[in-house]
């Protein structure tokens, strides 16, 4: 009846001097971490730089010294994070654990602060909220160990709510239209990437794409009750994320979206053409990244009906 699209995300980077190569770990290591989080590995694509796993709940990217794990639904990513901290200890130079505000937090196995406290017992870290207590927000635990981000090391997250019904239909099933302008605009985002995509039954869509060390991942929850799409990439967007945000926004036409960037220095300030900026927070973190959060809403010119909630939701 509904699915919790908003994700948890873990990123760990090892010290360059570490002798560990995460791609050389036994495959069962990753299977176990994924299972601990409450997900399963569906498929994998690889190139010279990265292994990209598609999960039953989102994605896992493994580099020699870096891992990015994203899980949605009712997963418990903090358990997998704890196991990684236990395994790699002092070799960890950076850890970021993020949670987006959920639609139905009452169905989550834990809250952000529960997770943050659990992980902060294992390594020195600080907890942050980007955005407001009462609205769109991303909460984040970040390590305080020394780490310097390279200038081209950027991450862009575009987190979209209330997508256009045509976009929801397009990704809602295998039989969605495949030649619409919207679909072409989506495919155009993936130019040059090797793609691994999965349609879920009865609905839902996940995709990993890689090109050398660059990844791009999209997860779509089309359900009307709380539709949601996440788009994330480490493509080098330069100082101005706006062109990428506008391209992705045009495909999904969300009612609301959050944009989160990680970069060595502050990105350009930007506004969107069809949305209002209603939340905005930036911080230079101990972990070596400048983190910038923006929350946008489309202006409404008419009332929506109230949404009738199912009293017996299927989870």
């Amino acid at each position: 009846m509904f699915f919790e699209g908003p994700e948890k995300k873990l990123e760990i980077q090892l010290a360059p001097s570490s002798l560990l190569d995460l791609r050389q770990l036994d495959p069962t290591f990753w299977e176990t971490r994924v299972r601990e989080a409450g997900a399963l590995i569906l498929s994998r694509i690889s190139n010279e730089a990265v292994d990209a796993y598609l999960l039953s709940e989102s994605s896992l990217f493994v580099y020699p010294k870096r891992v990015i794990m994203i899980t949605c639904g009712r997963t418990h990513l903090a358990t997998a994070a704890r196991a990684m901290i236990d395994a790699w200890g002092e070799a960890i130079e950076l850890l970021v654990y993020e949670r987006k505000n959920e639609h139905f937090p009452e169905y989550q196995p834990s809250g952000f602060l529960d997770d943050a406290r659990e992980l902060a017992e294992l390594l020195p870290a600080r907890a942050w909220r980007f955005g407001s207590a009462d609205g769109h927000r991303i909460q984040m635990l970040t390590s305080v160990r020394p780490h310097e981000a390279p200038a081209d090391d950027r991450t862009l997250e575009i987190l979209m709510h209330g997508i256009h019904p045509d976009a929801a239909r397009m990704f809602g099933s295998h039989r969605g239209a495949t030649t619409s302008p919207r679909k072409r605009a989506f495919d155009h985002l993936l130019n040059g990437f090797r793609v691994d995509a999965h349609h879920f039954e009865p609905t839902g869509y996940s995709m990993n794409a890689i090109d050398g060390p660059r990844y791009l991942t999209v997860h779509i929850t089309p359900e009307e009750i709380a539709s949601y799409v996440s788009f994330e990439t480490n493509l080098d967007f330069g100082v101005d994320p706006k062109p990428w945000v506008e391209r992705v926004r045009a495909v999904f036409e969300p009612q609301a979206l959050d944009v989160l960037t990680f970069s060595k220095s502050a990105p350009a300030a930007f506004a969107l053409d069809e949305h209002l900026t209603v939340g905005w927070a930036e911080e230079e973190l101990d972990c070596g990244y400048h983190v910038a959060f923006r929350h946008f809403e489309r202006r409404r010119d008419r009332a929506d009906p109230a949404f009738e909630l199912p009293l017996q939701p299927k989870l």
Copy 2:
């Protein structure tokens, strides 16, 4: 360290033909209901129409055929609601059970849908969400028994987040300035009302005010991490709630606010002078009321810093 200001609210109306008079119930009845919800009665004022109880977590208003109970923090109002349904059964003509989106839902003893399912087993009801799944919203269970609201039966809720630091200071302690223009504007709202107010230690403020059958209640959570003020009244605001909303808004100058009205027919559409309308939902409900929800945000012209969250919050 933080306190959950956003409230749960229960309203029950008995059939006019019922022989029950709720004001004649033994005082232990109300003490027990309040305790079941996880709160305590602090004080009471009465007049010919109503008994107004100030609670350790918000308020209770008892009329001969109507009860309004509002609780905040980590209370479990549904337990008290269940006991009232058990006690009055078929005499109940209307039930509305509301929950505002919380700041820290992970610390709540239950979620809205848990409560709604529990109560819907006891009387025929439907569940609604006003506002978006991803942002400001009020979720509501409403009975489907026949009920016709009188034309002057109106309720106005003004729910404010991120209040002005001067307003937070003013209500944060006994020693707040008492003669500022802001305080005078607040006092002016209460003209002609009999007032029962309580300052909490170390911070927080609650107030009931009554004038004949009219009530007005204000609850203030000044903590910086998630400041919140609720203002609610059954004063007959006519068809246009805007003048009252602007008066209350001017006292607290919130970053964001929700306005919810119950009335027999649709109120006038309105916008605010200093806020953007970002959410808007209306519905004619089976329970005899037109319910209109609006969510407003103040435009931001600069980034906020990220908020450092305490890893060991005191609840």
